[in-house]
């Protein structure tokens, strides 16, 4: 493929970088990146990946835009309330950059459809809001052998980590299974500061681009935690667990399954347990 003059201008600030150049920009143009969830994390990731000229962006989301989403889901605008998130997302992506192909999956990710969808992509970005889906994405990336950029946000805290199946620690190496449903609060109860989605989702997009370009050092075997109250990042080193039920030496998970109640909640840090809202 050859770039047009217009594309050379559009991507000139990338092409100027020795680590990217024309060659790297072509890698980006050929890349296929899947966003599971076109919400808080998916929004900034989609917009920056679109601006970067990623060839194909896949969007999976079964929801319609709700008024409560607009505080952080910047892919969707006020007139989009009530419209399909994947359609709204596709329009914004293509308005920003018509070079980008958008594949829409207006469905929930399940054990039944995950592998088929994932097999078409180079990198998967986790932008979902429940543990069932997070574990399913982790497992599906392992079986489909696709790199995963995991993210999570809650209240004032965020986390990112990159998982390269069979090479670096997976989500189950650290968290064996979803937390018991009775112990977690739902995202709706817990709240989140909107800008956190921008910070974490943008780091996820950065990781995905690095993987596509094959540059730098991926955020593997490290969980990067961000505390917005202190404006502080912490890196926690993690390792592959030989006893991991998925990627360990004697795996007990040998096929995809939906682990737990898809409506089970977000998470809870004991010092940040959601308290009753006082009006």
């Amino acid at each position: 493929m050859e770039f047009t003059d217009e594309q050379i201008s559009r991507y000139s600030r990338h092409i100027l970088l020795p680590e990217v150049g024309g060659k790297g920009q072509k890698k980006i143009a050929k890349a296929k990146i899947l966003l599971v969830g076109a919400g808080g994390l998916g929004s900034p990731a989609a917009l920056y990946l679109a601006a970067a000229g990623v060839g194909t962006i896949g969007l999976i989301d079964s929801d319609v835009v709700d008024l409560t989403n607009l505080q952080r889901q910047i892919l969707h605008h006020t007139p989009d309330v009530g419209r399909s998130k994947v359609l709204s997302g596709k329009e914004k992506i293509q308005a920003l950059n018509p070079d980008v192909q958008v594949s829409m999956y207006e469905e929930r990710l399940t054990a039944g459809n995950a592998l088929k969808i994932f097999s078409d992509y180079d990198v998967v970005i986790d932008g979902v809001d429940n543990f069932t889906a997070k574990f399913l994405i982790n497992d599906a990336c392992y079986f489909a052998n696709k790199p995963l950029v995991h993210g999570g946000i809650l209240r004032f805290d965020g986390r990112v980590t990159t998982i390269i199946p069979k090479q670096s620690a997976c989500y189950r190496c650290v968290f064996k299974q979803p937390p018991p449903a009775g112990l977690v609060a739902s995202c709706q109860e817990a709240g989140v500061i909107g800008v956190l989605a921008g910070i974490i989702g943008t780091i996820q997009a950065t990781e995905a681009l690095k993987l596509v370009l094959g540059i730098g050092r991926p955020l593997t075997n490290r969980m990067l935690d961000f505390d917005a109250r202190k404006t502080q990042f912490r890196e926690i080193h993690v390792k592959r667990n030989p006893k991991c039920a998925l990627c360990g030496d004697h795996p007990t998970i040998t096929e995809l399954f939906d682990d737990g109640d898809p409506y089970a909640g977000c998470t809870v840090r004991p010092d940040t347990q959601p308290k009753a809202v006082r009006l």
Binding site: V128, G152, C187, I236, N241, T267, P270
Partner: protein
């Protein structure tokens, strides 16, 4: 004795990791625990004794994204 918990020095009473979790009112099912960069199996929380200078890392589930 002094240990580091999530990067912060804290004075704690000795005992096991499970004792520390109980003192902090943390439900063991809600956390993954590393001591000195080593992930502990849940059944070892009650048998792993903490020593002065240990680095303890509590990793809580972080689930949101929408």
């Amino acid at each position: 004795m002094q240990v580091k918990i999530n990067g912060k020095s804290e004075e704690i009473q000795g005992g096991t990791v499970l004792d520390l979790l109980a003192a902090k009112k943390i439900e063991p099912q809600m956390v993954a625990v590393e001591v000195n960069d080593k992930m502990l199996e849940r059944d070892h929380l009650g048998t792993t004794r903490l020593n002065d200078g240990d680095q303890v890392e509590f990793l809580f589930y972080m689930g949101g994204g929408r």
